[in-house]
């Protein structure tokens, strides 16, 4: 569904991604793990259109994303939950969700989608009229995910879900993600620093180091691989 082929990404003159390729199939949860600064967010920003790639291509369901502006990529069915949540602090929870359904196709079914989101995240329904800036971290993350889902995406990108959240909340979110994936056959691409979390959620995974993909495989075997164990799980 999502095909990233040999992309190079630069920040000005500084290269951040080298020859990165990966594929994500329909209905999969795929994760990209790596330490801080390895290039995970850079990749996410490139897919969602916030950054331009300098070489290679990004395709979603056969359509090239890399030349489109960010808002058009949402129209193509790819929605991102950005790093740090980035909800609209002065708007209410409801208004935030409404903003998520800004594209034409989503606007028509807005009410229906809202109901579905409230089912998945009941607390958002409770706090619908509340200002988003007053929500807790976990609630904001739910709002961010809900907002991204409002556009009825075929592919969901999640950038660093676990940052700043307590383990319990993160677990709950992880369960929700997996549920959504199973129920709607939604393709999900998760980028994470928390390696065990990521690999427990996903079907397959990629490992990125210093801007290059260094390993890939299905989640279970990656979890057991020597490299992962050494670098991220602190094993002997």
């Amino acid at each position: 569904m999502l095909k990233i082929a040999h992309i190079d990404v630069y920040y000005g003159d500084l290269q951040a991604l080298w020859d990165v390729s990966l594929t994500i199939g329909v209905g999969e949860i795929v994760t990209l793990v790596g330490s801080n600064g390895a290039g995970k967010s850079t990749l996410m920003n490139s897919i969602s259109g916030l950054l331009r790639i300098r070489a290679g291509s990004i395709e979603f369901r056969g359509i090239r994303l890399d030349s489109l502006p960010a808002h058009s990529i949402v129209e193509q069915g790819v929605s991102m939950v950005p790093e740090g949540r980035r909800i609209f602090p002065q708007m209410s929870v409801l208004e935030n969700l409404e903003m998520g359904a800004s594209i034409h196709a989503a606007r028509k079914v807005r009410q229906k989608t809202l109901k579905e989101i409230y089912e998945v995240f009941p607390i958002l329904g409770e706090r619908a009229k509340q200002r988003a800036g007053t929500l807790s971290g976990g609630e904001q993350q739910m709002l961010a995910i809900g907002r991204a889902l409002m556009s009825q995406p075929k592919g969901l990108l999640i950038d660093e879900m676990s940052l700043g959240l307590s383990p319990l909340v993160v677990q709950e979110l992880s369960r929700v993600i997996q549920r959504i994936n199973k129920a709607n056959h939604l393709t999900i691409f998760v980028v994470e620093q928390d390696v065990p979390l990521a690999l427990s959620m996903a079907h397959r995974g990629y490992v990125i180091e210093n801007g290059r993909i260094v390993d890939q495989g299905d989640a279970k075997s990656l979890l057991c691989s020597a490299r992962i164990k050494e670098a991220y799980l602190g094993a002997a």
Binding site: P69, R86, I87, F88, Q90, G100
Partner: protein
Amino acid sequence: MEIVFQTMANGLLVGALYGLVALGFALLMGVMKFLNTAHGTFIVLGGYLSYWLLDLWGIDPFLSLPLVVMAMFLIGIIFYKLALSPLLKLPNIGMRINTSMLITFGSIWVLDNTMTVLWTPDVRSIMTSYTGQTLKFFGIRFSLTGLGGLGVAVFVALALYFILSGTYFGKHIRAATQDAVAASLCGINVQRTYLFSCGIAIALAGVAGIVVVSSYSISSTAGIGWLSSAFVVMVLAGEGNINAIIPAGMILGLIESAGLLVVGVSYRQAIALIVFIIVLMIKPQGLFSKREYGS
């Protein structure tokens, strides 16, 4: 005592105009962090449009509102495309503010002097059947044009409020203001939102121009004076706080009128400026600091 009430009444009417003058300026600054120093020039331009509509085709200034609004909206879009949209590429907000200040400042010289060349520096004002007429309420005289200005100001402010909080386009504007990146990730075309916001802001300047030319007068170099007022009102209201603009304008009007009683007419403009400095020094986030639009 009569004089006090009369002065207060005048102050409120003038203040409403100050608020109207500041609306477009504050919108541009609040939404896109563009400091449009040419705002006063656009006000004058709107005034000229209204003046010529009356002079050439006999259209009453207050009736010419829709025409002027449309024309100024288009001008605002062109202005955005030419001068302001390149600034979106700049890395940080501080640079955007400074550079937009400088660019619009350069535009003042181009626009002001082009108007001088085209229409001479003569002072223009509009005389209609109701210019100079007053209504008397409880012994206080209210000028008709002043009341008209108040009406326009309130109407426009309410319309803007409704657009921003009730329509999806207005919500797009607010979203883009609070977090432009997140807004584009929601599928909002932020560039187009900014484009139309700029059109609205300049159209607002045009509306203010209509009231200015019918209540007072305009000349090709009068722009900077109105920019000054717009700035003071914006600082009083608090940067980004659009809803507080008309009230802040009225407060400025009241203070100015009260000050007039004390220091006399020749120092009128200085009063606003001194209020400005004091507010800047003591409470730079504005008298109302409700922080509607974040940061």
